[in-house]
Symmetry: C2
Subunit: 332 residues, 2 copies
């Protein structure tokens, strides 16, 4: 990592687990207070009367080192006495909440009821957890991802957790997105000339990134951004590393390839990082491509990929003429 990298300012657009892995890599290779994560709140929901923000929490727990690596969600060193007692009392137990994790949901619910904005609450928690990055919700207004399936319309968590992504997906809707205001600091960071790179992390594009892009001022800020926008494909060899991305792509009638991901983000991104195993696809994609291992098994993998993404962004930026506006972005 070059020394110049240390002061690179980066905005990561990030959903849950897969995206958070790269966000952690970026966090660890960047200087403190240079990373802004714009997180997905489309899968937020009210459950047991609590406001739960699964993707923001995954980012908080991942960057603070509290995340459980094996489970892929929630905190490590977790206990489940609350869930057990809840089931005994007849409460809904399909969405599992650990005893420690619950503290975050109870506190968030309390603060939101007191009219604290989700962004302010999240910033406070990030500070408490010692995180030297900004973690921002895409919007402080409610946006809810609804999956139109073979079993009808399902709120995201009902589809994702309760029905384990089994129903066939027809369409994905982002209720509230059209009128949601992009979180002001997130919009400013995306538009800022001080931002050196914008990274769309390898989260599920349809379920986890699209809700962010569906917020009009976020989308407009990306369109207007002076920093190069790099996406990292979540597809490796026709498969998603984890989760239902490939299954959903099949159900939506598209091939589960990085070329499809490129097409999905066409007009918005300046470059795509794909795994070397999909190198043959590079020729078919009309975008600058970086081949870099995208499977992140450990922290070194995450940091290595982060450096490759940042180098790629720096290269794209340097190739531009002064006053460059992203050539690959089109109005659409």
């Amino acid at each position: 990592m070059s020394t110049s990298r240390c002061t690179t300012r980066v905005v990561a657009v990030c959903g849950g687990v897969g995206g958070a892995k790269l966000a952690l890599g970026l966090y660890r290779v960047l200087a403190p207070d240079t990373l802004t994560v714009v997180g997905n709140t489309g899968d937020d929901f009210e459950h047991l009367g609590l406001h739960i923000s699964p993707d923001l929490d995954t980012v908080l727990y991942t960057l603070s080192g509290l995340a459980d690596r094996e489970r892929g969600w929630g905190r490590s060193d977790e206990s489940w006495d609350f869930m057990e007692a809840l089931a005994e009392l007849g409460g809904e137990d399909w969405f599992r909440l650990g005893d420690r994790d619950l503290a975050l949901h109870v506190l968030r619910t309390q603060r939101l009821r007191e009219s604290t904005a989700l962004s302010a609450f999240t910033a406070g928690i990030a500070r408490r957890l010692g995180i030297h990055a900004r973690i921002l919700p895409m919007s402080d207004d409610p946006v809810r991802t609804i999956v139109d399936t073979s079993e009808g319309l399902l709120p995201f968590q009902r589809y994702f957790v309760q029905r384990r992504c089994e129903p066939t997906v027809r369409r994905i809707l982002f209720d509230g997105a059209a009128t949601a205001r992009g979180q002001a600091d997130a919009v400013a960071a995306l538009r800022s000339h001080a931002t050196d790179a914008i990274v769309i992390c390898p989260s599920n594009p349809y379920l986890s990134v699209d809700p962010i892009l569906a917020v009009p001022t976020i989308r407009a800020a990306l369109k207007a951004a002076s920093a190069p926008i790099i996406a990292v494909s979540p597809i490796i060899g026709g498969q998603a590393v984890k989760g239902p991305t490939a299954k959903i792509m099949a159900e939506l009638g598209v091939e589960a390839t990085s070329a499809t991901i490129a097409a999905h983000y066409a007009g918005l991104i300046d470059g795509l990082v794909i795994d070397p195993s999909d190198g043959a696809e590079a020729a078919t994609i009309k975008l600058p491509i970086e081949l870099a291992p995208t499977l992140m098994r450990d922290l070194d993998d995450r940091k290595t990929l982060a450096r490759r993404v940042l180098d790629f962004a720096a290269r794209l930026a340097s190739e531009r003429a002064p006053g460059y506006r992203a050539v690959h972005r089109e109005a659409r």
Copy 2:
């Protein structure tokens, strides 16, 4: 215990820990479905956005066998991971909530927000916990005990838990009581001719029983009750077994004696049970007195006292002429 005891129908008016001990004794010596507990909700409060009903929960946990005996509140076999995480995140941690206990508060909060009445929720939980007694809040309307102290007005739990009863008590107020409607089943049980005894359990009269009596229709039902009303003094040898009763009595300018308890409940009760160690006071009390050991160390003590109370009530009832209305109760 006589066989006739098995079908005795009893209403217990009960606050927290001390009262719940006798309620358990009554529960264990009575036939299933013959005990109704009318519980105090004056110490209910909203904390961390959750609706907490400490006295009702103490009764629920005590009758179901889930209560922690040593601690005196909450559940046995409890864990505290939620509290630990909450403190790390900067949440208020002066009121301790165990991980299992929390399930009840989260569920209650959710159901009350969905407009379920506290009485209906409590009944459902009692059923889930296999309790064959009715546990009723004194009212489904909010009543809040406020302690007027040397440090100003303190909501009950702030006084009791956060300030550990240290401020000097001047007065105790029951906000909302005057307009609260007595819970309908509670009022009916108190008034019912099928009720054989009404027992005011040895909870703190000022903090835990008075809020119940402050609900106009509950007080009127007690006044009109055909069943004998027996109170059990919480004072033994000038001391309360546990808690701040004696301290509060001193601060309110009354002697911490069973005679004071008798005077406090005068006009409402038909008899008072006091500990044999306070037998000398009996002559000064203008009420039928039963001397019975009121210190309840174990389940046998609880059951023995329960039987003595029920025998006392049966004796008072048998001494009455047909059509008797309580001779010791006066309008006041």
